[in-house]
């Protein structure tokens, strides 16, 4: 690219040869109207709104598709340009309905805004206007296709950015209809971005429909609670209600996107299931009480345990989406009670490397560089559903031909890029395959391979993949996803991937849910004498304090959670939602504020610390969790709970935190031990957390619960495996370890490896199916009535 100079409206501007005119005008703040052009999408040049005059061109040219050349003279406001723009506007408006007063886009509508500048106050169009049927395309996006101006931004977004072409433009001429194909729904996990992209009211937010006019809303900057990026977003409120959440552009983090999980989970804030008053369970019945009673009850219960000398048998489990301050006071409370058993890693099962673990689960690679790698290796990661926005960045690099992506995964996930090498290695095979890769890398680079690695290797030939990683060197990235972190031998997988990263020069990223980095930095982790989450669930506790979590649903081994809670003497739950059947072991439920009602600090996978402010006041009598924890400390006469404001807490935790938050995710030493996992004799089980079941907030977000990524309590099997067990797609089956079982519907899933069952966590129905022990499956006659 060479530098050129062009003249726009009589002024000279520097530009790069070949870049589009609109990029130059945008950079220099020169306004050119547009609808189809979007900097993150390919150029379509179909709306013809950005027509401008270029000297010596015979006709007006679209600024979005006109490459600049040296000496080019451009007029953006000349008679030719403005007449062309007005002409386009007239055409756009002839068939556009005049329903702005009832259109959700009104007030934030590029068509409305530009019609003011380029349209006329009356129309010459005397014919009948076009009307277009609006399909139901799912629970998240409302359609009003008569308003569509066919800019194809949504089509291009799906095709280019999201990687699933769910929208298309079938038909011809006036009859072109932007629609899904064959009446299917929009199922992408980032579909909400189409709402932002749509320049008219054709695609609007369904949950937000008719809730407010855009100009009535108040904006509050916030941080996404569910992804590890700390996506920037704006919470929009009206009369103390969250009405909508939209992304806030941050080129280093979420660009201009937001995943549906963070965009629509706000619905839970005002859900009917919201706990608005404290509740106490006595003899199996729940009753609402005042705060004083509830707190006294909670304190009495905890004190009873302490009085029995079982203070160290009090366990604390926190939700990974909690804020840094909540994590801090929570672990402080548990420790002050006399226990060191506190954990937030609800979906992790192997903690053998806790003493040598890095400071926090992190990405050694800045988020903005995820799309520029030459190699990405996913180990146990369905990154598209775990961290949707990082997946978009990887897809971008892959689409541009920069990135070769490979995977060692338990099943053939439907990713939004194609894998160069895709190793399907369920269960213990993931360990053996990763070790084989380490060995292949050692062979290729002439490094000595530790005998322990050789012993773990399953002997697969992974020379091709090894070459991809070795060639990439510093330009390579290894991602450890949810399936690696929840693996029974996660510590070995972490050691192996660290060893591979060290040997190849690749960077490593451990992508954990929500504010996991904050949890680790706030030391919401077991002390040397404490128990980790797994040990707590396995060995049982006298009492529990739960911060925003429901262990039966939030842990992959919910069965252990049920048993442990059942046997606990006393359980205090800080929760935003009313107790449900699976909360039957809870004694006191204390209503906490959601992320929108309280300020809080989040640390993302880069170690970046971001603070969100409260957007609305507390719902009902709920209180910010940090205040409840502080008051519990006060009621229990514990030291160190004198904080008055949240910033006192923030300051306290930041001071207590290790000052070095530079992301590093390698253990301090390589430690090899024998694996606990072994190849199952019969049927293997893959547990996973569906993206819209991962915490109470998403579970109570109504629209998300109707979305495709909430599959329901279904067991998925390969068609051949189904046949082997005399099952058909849609049959009911009894799945369990022989002692306990769940009755689930089975569905065929060709992406599954053979002889494995995929069982989603996050549903009460599947708890028993995830109980430990050899898995059995048998056809059952029908659903339990």
């Amino acid at each position: 690219m060479s530098s050129v100079e062009i003249e726009i409206d009589g002024k000279a501007y520097p530009a790069e040869a070949g870049e589009m005119l609109i990029e130059v005008t945008d950079r220099n703040g020169i306004y050119i109207p547009r609808f189809c052009y979007h900097e993150k999408l390919s150029v379509a040049a179909n709306c013809r709104m950005c027509l401008i005059e270029v000297e010596r061109a015979p006709k007006p040219l679209p600024a979005c598709a006109t490459p600049v050349t040296n000496g080019m003279k451009v007029h953006t406001r000349s008679e030719i340009a403005v007449e062309a723009q007005k002409g386009t506007m007239e055409f756009l408006l002839i068939n556009h309905p005049l329903d702005c007063p009832v259109c959700d886009q009104g007030g934030e509508c590029p068509l409305q805004d530009q019609a003011l500048g380029y349209g006329k106050d009356n129309s010459r169009f005397m014919e009948r206007k076009r009307s277009v049927p609006s399909d139901d395309i799912g629970p998240l996006i409302a359609t009003e296709m008569t308003r569509c101006i066919h800019c194809t931004r949504c089509v291009r977004f799906g095709d280019e950015v999201a990687g699933v072409m769910e929208m298309g433009a079938p038909g011809r001429g006036e009859h072109v209809r932007i629609s899904t194909f064959l009446d299917s729904t929009i199922d992408s996990e980032v579909s909400g971005n189409m709402i932002d992209l749509c320049p008219v009211g054709a695609l609007t937010s369904k949950p937000f429909r008719f809730a407010a006019r855009s100009w009535e809303l108040t904006d509050h900057q916030s941080i996404s609670p569910h992804d590890c990026l700390g996506s920037n977003m704006r919470i929009q409120t009206l009369r103390n209600r969250v009405e909508r959440v939209v992304p806030k552009e941050n080129p280093d983090i979420n660009e201009c996107w937001l995943a549906d999980r963070d965009r629509f989970s706000y619905q839970a804030i005002h859900s009917e299931k919201r706990l608005t008053r404290p509740m106490i369970q006595r003899q199996g019945t729940w009753q609402e009480v005042d705060w004083e009673t509830a707190l006294t009850h909670a304190v009495d219960g905890l004190r009873a345990i302490i009085d029995q000398g079982k203070a160290d048998r009090i366990g604390g489990l926190a939700q990974a989406a909690s804020s840094l301050e909540e994590f801090h006071l929570f672990q402080k409370l548990i420790r002050a009670l006399g226990s060191e058993s506190v954990d937030y890693r609800l979906q992790q099962n192997d903690f053998r490397d806790d003493d040598i673990a890095p400071l926090f689960p992190a990405s050694e690679l800045p988020i903005r560089d995820f799309g520029t790698r030459s190699s990405v290796l996913l180990i146990g990661s369905n990154i598209r559903k775990e961290q949707p926005l990082l997946s978009l960045r990887i897809r971008q690099g892959w689409r541009e031909g920069k990135t070769a992506v490979s995977a060692i995964n338990p099943m053939d996930f439907d990713l939004n890029f194609a894998c160069t090498v895709s190793e399907i290695a369920p269960g213990t095979a993931m360990l053996g395959r990763t070790a084989a890769l380490a060995k292949a890398i050692a062979d290729l680079s002439g490094t000595n391979v530790p005998a322990e690695i050789s012993a773990l290797s399953d002997g697969c030939d992974l020379a091709l993949l090894a070459k991809q990683l070795v060639d990439a060197d510093q330009e390579g990235l290894i991602v450890l996803g949810a399936f690696a972190q929840q693996h029974p031998d996660a510590s070995l997988l972490k050691a192996l991937s660290s060893w591979i990263a060290e040997t190849t020069g690749n960077r490593l990223a451990i992508l954990a849910p929500g504010n996991s980095a904050g949890g680790a930095l706030a030391n919401c982790l077991p002390g040397t004498n404490g128990l980790n989450k797994q040990a707590m669930l396995d060995s049982g506790m006298a009492g529990f304090v739960l911060l925003g979590c429901q262990p039966e649903l939030d842990c992959l081994d919910g069965y252990a959670g049920v048993k442990t809670l059942e046997n606990a003497d006393f359980v205090v739950q800080l929760t935003a939602f009313k107790p449900e059947t699976h909360d039957r072991h809870v004694d006191v439920a204390l209503p906490i504020c959601s992320f929108a009602e309280t300020a809080g600090t989040h640390v993302n996978c880069e170690g970046k610390i971001q603070t969100a402010r409260a957007a609305i006041e507390s719902v009902g009598e709920s209180k910010p969790a940090w205040k409840i924890l502080r008051v519990l400390g006060n009621f229990l006469n514990l030291e160190g709970f004198g904080q008055i404001t949240l910033s006192d807490v923030t300051q306290e935790v930041l001071e207590a935190m290790d000052s070095d938050t530079a992301p590093n995710c390698r253990p301090s030493e390589f430690r090899w031990h024998s694996p606990v996992s072994s190849a199952p004799a019969g049927l293997g089980s893959i547990a996973y957390m569906p993206m819209y079941r991962g915490d109470p907030l998403v579970r109570n977000a109504l629209a998300l619960q109707s979305a495709a990524d909430n599959p329901g309590p279904l067991a998925s099997l390969h068609p051949e495996t189904l046949k082997k067990h005399s099952l058909k797609d849609g049959d009911w089956a009894e799945i369990g370890n022989g002692n306990v079982s769940s009755r689930l519907r089975v569905i065929k899933e060709p992406r599954m490896p053979r002889d494995c069952v995929l069982i989603p966590a996050g549903y009460e129905e599947t708890v028993n199916a995830r109980a430990p022990g050899a898995l059995r499956i048998a056809r059952a006659e029908q659903e339990i009535p």
Partner: protein
Amino acid sequence: MSIQKNRELIADRFGSLKHSSGVCLPALDQKEPWTLEAYRKNGGYQALEKVLGGELDPAGIIEVLKISNIRGRGGAGFPVGVKWSFMPRQSDDQKYVVCNSDEGEPGTCKDRDIMRLNPHALVEGMTLGGYVMGASVGYNYIRGEFHEPYSAMEQAVKEARETGLLGKNILGSGFDFELHNHLGSGAYICGEETALLNSLEGRKGEPRFKPPFPAVFGLYGKPTTINNTESFASVPTILRGNGKWMDGQWFRGLGVENSGGVKIFSVTGHVNKPGNYEVKMGTPFRELLQMAGGVWKNRELKAVIPGGSSVPVMPAEAVLASNMDYTSLQENGSALGAGSVIIMDETTDMVNVLERISKFYYEESCGQCTPCREGTGWLYRIIRRINRGRGTFEDLDTLLDVANRIEGRTICALGDAAAWPVQSFLKHFRHEFEAKIESIQSDAA
């Protein structure tokens, strides 16, 4: 069988062929001119043999084409030799030759007869194109309704392949060229070259924004030369040069300044002998009309659309003063286009004609860009209203304004094609539109 007899036979079987100069349409001395045998008898494939034998290199062929002054026969009239010279011929990248046989312009039926009656001229022309461009694959995109021409082309390709004129190592020269016929699905817009490329690729037939041009980013993103059927089919004869090998002067001399060679004119409408006439460029319109038997029913000529429905209409006096070549028709207010001459007699209702033409563009707009998608329907509806007696005088201004706002504002030329008839009909026959509006208004009064 006498030539006369055979001519009658062919004329009977393929009534549309009325006059051939033996360039793109076959000389009528063969019983079955579409066969390889017949084509060879008239010098077919000699040019290819000579070229592959090393008598002329690609640059030389381009030079001959430039001298011959042949301009693209699809409608835009871009010089073929110049277009061929744009290709990065030396590049090792895959390149393509594509023939546009998606003949959809209302009034045009010439490519159909080339493919039915003289398919080998196209095979040879495209193979020569492939040789010049260094392309090993060619696609012939045939209009969806052209089943018979498609069969004829398939037969010709089969014959050529079987005799070593297509495929690997053609005539032992080491040059490989494979030719595929592809039947479209019935969309006028796929005759636009970049929409055609999209359609060939299996995408929706929507024109691409240019630049980049096909010579840089064409089929599957590779350098591609795309020409009309008649252009390709002319190439072998131009190279043969009527016995004077590789001499473009002969072909050039057939035509006039700026318009080399001969051209097929599809004469349709109110004439006694509608059909294809391959005549010299620069033939006076009067002569062509005479060849076509004159206006039918002894009526007077009212107007002519000389180049297919998208070019401006010409009143009788203007067209009668014109010759059938690029310059003359342009000077008289229209264009040669694809050479589709639509004759209208004195009884023709011009509002009705424009309604029909506008309906066509309204139906065939791809809908991709705003002015054409919204404007073509608007034009059609206004004209229909006027024609049904519900028009107003303001409508005429709106009509012209809408046409002006489409023209030059769209991705491809379909917008222009929809606007030009409206502009020219209003220019020359505004009184007929006004009369319709007035008559109804007086009725109402």
